[in-house]
């Protein structure tokens, strides 16, 4: 078991579009202070912002967690529902169930989940209808 250098939990509220992105901005700042390389920092930042927006747009709220070990950065998003009925469809580029508010802000193009998967070295998503969705993303540091 690797030693944990940093662990932070960021509660993210549903439909709080004003604060959406604050957790990701803080995550980026903390990783920069730890000296994470620019390439990894950029991939973590994009994936983190996408997953945070997903919590705001699609979930009933949840928690975005950051964990850093000497080997990797781990981002875990765990929400309180409603869960994704068809994961295969949700992972497809261009598929979106975002509402008009999200679209008017420039989101909801159906790129979020595929973009997270593309940016992370390790990607895992589990979802149960009525219970919630958990997304784990790992970014290797070496």
């Amino acid at each position: 078991m690797s030693s944990t250098l940093l662990h932070e939990d960021y509660p993210v509220e549903a439909e709080d579009y004003t604060r959406a992105g604050e957790a990701s901005a803080d995550i980026k700042r903390k990783l920069k202070q730890l000296g994470v390389s620019a390439g990894v920092l950029r991939r973590v930042s994009v994936a983190s912002y996408e997953v945070e927006l997903n919590l705001v747009i699609h979930s009933r709220g949840g928690v975005l967690s950051l964990e850093v070990t000497p080997e990797r950065v781990l981002l875990v998003s765990a929400d309180r529902g409603p869960g994704i009925p068809d994961l295969e469809l949700a992972m497809r580029e261009g598929w979106s169930t975002a509402n008009e508010t999200a679209r008017s802000l420039g989101f909801g193009a159906g790129m979020g989940l595929p973009n997270m998967k593309r940016n992370a070295d390790e990607f895992d998503i589990e979802s149960q209808l009525g219970t919630g969705t958990t997304i784990r993303m790992g970014f290797l540091l070496s």
Binding site: A20, A25, S45, G110
Partner: protein, 124 residues
């Protein structure tokens, strides 16, 4: 070209970041869809947009963009400019439409940011 060159080409006004106008820029992208910008932009570049909400700033922060160009004379709120100052981002506004702004910058030598095609569109 430098950001100062872009300002001349677009007859633009600087809204913040006056101390960074000599920064070199080689590529740009133009979009109001932040999902697309987040998905396809892979380098520190310039974003031309008509969208003035705070998420444009957040997107710029996540991608370390160099300069934000508001088309059609749009000017964001002061709180957005404060955020841009904090991020060290240059923000300018031009009276040109997004289409014309892109055309003028292309003519002056700026090129589109290289993008990675998503698998679903690679065959186009």
């Amino acid at each position: 070209m430098t950001i100062a060159d872009m300002i001349r080409v677009l007859r633009a006004k600087v809204l913040c970041g006056e101390d960074r106008l000599e920064t070199m820029v080689y590529t740009a992208c133009c979009s109001d869809l932040m999902s697309d910008v987040l998905a396809f932009v892979n380098e520190k570049t310039v974003l031309i947009t008509g969208l003035t909400n705070p998420h444009v700033l957040r997107t710029a922060d996540m991608l370390d963009l160099k300069c934000l160009v508001y088309a059609r004379g749009k000017i964001p709120g002061e709180e957005i400019l404060d955020q841009a100052r904090e991020q060290g981002l240059v923000v300018i506004t031009t009276r040109e439409t997004a289409f014309t702004a892109c055309g003028l910058l292309y003519e002056a030598g700026l090129r589109g940011v290289p993008i990675e095609w998503p698998e679903s569109e690679a065959r186009l």
